[in-house]
Point group: C2
Chain length 478, copies 2
């Protein structure tokens, strides 16, 4: 169970004045403080945790964001930035004495420049909307988190989001050119721009993945890419998780970079097939979805090479998609995986760690052993090509001990990731979920130096506090 | 002309004690303090500026680096980290009261892991040595600065170095997995690792390109890649710089990413041909070197597409390399370009700015106009595909006014880059050279926030001070 820091009592006492002060800065219905209306903001994708904030501000311009932050800074009010609230690590979980700043009204696409291949969009634009806006001209925005229909680019920046196709195109940080950011004292800065590299420090990189702790992103300049001439998916089924993991390692080790290389184990295959009717082989213990793209010649060449490698691992079956409809069905199953697992177990924790791909067979075996010893089922469905695991641990939310066991099991998996040379998070961020596990990854010197970076931007720790860092270091840091 | 900050007189007065204290930490010949022996450390690739340091420390282990930094921290001594000293922006220029920490003795390759495609190397390993160590197995390390025979990976990290082939593979920051770093107080931290992404802030990105101001890098985990099946270069010659620039924009705008797309203007073509005998067309005003790689089918397809695009711009001639020897000769000319220009003008300033590729024709025309009005010749030879300009401004070092004019001309070019939406530096860093121009790119709020990042790592500004930031903000920052 997560702990929350104690609320500041002087802030709760001054609630009415703070709400009135903020409302004066936001026209129309830009401030929500009615308890019933605050409900939807109590939680995010990590719905096991809930806390209503003091109020929700819905600014429409960068200047309004600046006015809100200036006010909060002067009054010592904590601030929780929020996009679509799809965070799986509790990144947008409110605090009782905090104001949520929701970015959903800042949803304009400002500029599209095909010649220089970039677009400037406000933070509340959804991930998919960027691709939709440029697809007529044959362009797309590459990172594609499973939540891409809902999640917003500002949140993608804060969590450095990934997606199935990031194996080839990189995650958010590899597809950004610039940011407009409001600092906690209301000052507005612009970093990066429509060009390669940057002078001074790489704070575009630093901001990306900083989980809303260094400033509020209001505008994002993204790289748009011309779509490939074609793409084709194939399936390779195996009767053993470890062998499928070894096959992934062999494909990646051969130097081939498919555009996506996804892994599903038996529970995931069955759940997704029931949902998407993609024709997944139900006799398999493990299934790889491998997509390549390029010209027809390039696709044929890559698929032939991949089939050669798969054959060395005695696949149960292999199937190359013969049409766009077939490819779409294959991807519908994968993209809907989290929802599909929700149909067999309404409650699950989706973990997110990374490992070197050579460790896949070992780590999958250990997860299976842990599943037995905890007595909790796991579905594995993840971005195998870049070693980004997503074990879904199923539990019963009506049984507290089942939930606690699931949390412990999840923590054990993440410790294992770090142990084999991996990392606590691939794309979901640390949030509140993995806050205490940061000690597994970093020693005290390393954590304190990161806290000093936070303090250099936000000396009073008002911006999304109680996330990312273990709580017991907060007094030291602030 | 650059200014240097005033030396700390108390440090100069305590010189003998400081030298003795440092010598006690470094066995054998690990500390240089003899004036004659300090000569080679007076300058770097920006040889117009010279200043001998107080001493040079040559540690052999991370622990020795830590001991040296701890000593300097306790005694308030400034520290200048140095790799091979190939910086073109004066990044390794000493101060009179500073100790240079030279990393050349830390030149071991610690680990090579082909399965997970990474290598762990000490900071003093040369860029080319990494590729040489893994080439027998068909691997390479992608960033390839022109100085790759000499420059060291630690310096590459500090400057976020690029190279001709970074169009496809990205610059240093895109090819790093982890760093071992000594902080100014002697504490040792490790960031990143052998895995995708990182928990906490992206300080791997923050350190990359931080020009030695946040800590001293002692060990680097780099991504190694499997080499392509084949590669082929082609030449396309044009009778006009602007048209060649428009052709670059058309190639990139079409979505093709060649592995390299280089541009030479007439002075560069003639200088490089005289040096390399690559068969460059001497009747051309502008020459593009375009390299693609992949399977034979992929190469044929890409070259055909590129030739189609070039043909729309009425090239004077096009030539596709028919053999590896021919490709090598083509690259020998490009890689030796800076030396080749040195044969026609012993003194030149190599500028380094980036622009959106669509601005290439306009910027090339403006540089040519400025060249006329300053009365100084320019050779343009640069990474056109990613909009990274390298105008070489020729001057006469025996004529002070010629040197000052060259510096002003260079500053005007960089201001123009920023004006059209570009950036002060592509890959050479800010160093002392572009320190004062940071005000063109950033406003005071932005500069001060970057200074706070520096202070969060190095409160007393001992690490490579007087670089990156305009000097007049130093008192504010420290």
């Amino acid at each position: 169970m997560i702990e929350q820091p104690a609320p500041k009592l002087d802030i709760l006492r001054r609630r009415d004045a703070i709400v009135a002060g903020l409302a004066a800065l936001l026209p129309g219905s830009g401030l929500i403080s009615d308890a019933r209306m605050l409900k939807p903001y109590e939680t995010d994708g990590l719905s096991a945790y809930r806390q209503a904030p003091m109020a929700v501000a819905l600014p429409e311009t960068t200047e309004q964001v600046a006015a809100v932050l200036r006010f909060c800074h002067e009054n010592g009010v904590r601030v929780i930035p929020r996009g679509a609230g799809t965070s799986l690590s509790g990144g947008a979980l409110p605090l009782e004495d905090a104001v949520v700043v929701g970015m959903m009204r800042m949803n304009a696409i400002t500029t599209i420049n095909y010649a220089d291949r970039h677009a400037v969009v406000q933070a509340g634009v959804t991930n998919i909307a960027i691709t939709q806006a440029v697809s007529d001209e044959g362009f797309f925005y590459a990172p594609d988190p499973s939540s891409q229909l809902a999640c917003m680019i500002g949140g993608n920046v804060n969590m450095n989001s990934g997606g199935a196709h990031c194996l080839k195109y990189g995650v958010t940080t590899n597809n950004l050119l610039g940011l407009k950011i409001v600092l906690i004292d209301g000052q507005i800065i612009e970093i990066g721009g429509e060009h390669l590299d940057s002078a001074g420090y790489d704070w575009l990189g630093l901001f990306t993945g900083s989980e809303g702790q260094l400033g509020i992103v209001t505008e994002v300049t993204v790289r748009i890419l011309r779509g490939p001439e074609g793409a084709r998916a194939m399936l390779a089924a195996f009767d053993n998780n470890e062998i499928a993991g070894a096959c992934v390692d062999a494909i990646i080790g051969s130097g081939i970079i498919p555009v996506a290389l996804e892994f599903m184990d038996r529970p995931a295959i069955h759940a997704c097939e029931a949902f998407a009717h993609a024709g997944y082989p139900l006799d398999a213990e493990a299934l790889l979805i491998i997509e390549v793209e390029g010209s027809d010649a390039e696709i044929d060449f890559l698929l032939a090479s991949i089939k050669d490698i798969c054959n060395r691992f005695n696949p149960l079956s292999m199937r190359v998609s013969q049409s766009q409809a077939e490819s779409l069905a294959i991807w519908k199953g994968r993209k809907g995986a989290f929802g599909a697992v929700g149909r067999i177990s309404p409650d699950y924790l989706c973990m997110d760690g990374t490992i070197p791909t050579s460790q896949l067979p070992f780590v999958l075996r250990r997860i299976s052993e842990m599943s037995d010893s905890y007595g909790l089922k796991v579905a594995n469905i993840f971005h195998a090509g870049d070693g980004n695991l997503h074990p879904l641990i199923m539990f019963d939310a009506n049984d507290d001990s089942s939930f606690h066991k699931a949390e412990e099991f999840g923590a054990d998996i993440l410790r294992l990731c770090v142990e084999v040379g991996g990392c606590l998070t691939g794309e979901h961020g640390v949030g509140v979920e993995k806050r205490e596990l940061m000690k597994v990854q970093f020693n005290e010197t390393e954590l304190n130096q990161q806290r000093r970076i936070k303090s250099a931007f936000d000396p009073a720790w008002l911006l999304n506090p109680s996330k990312v860092f273990p709580l017991d270091g907060l007094s030291h840091a602030a």
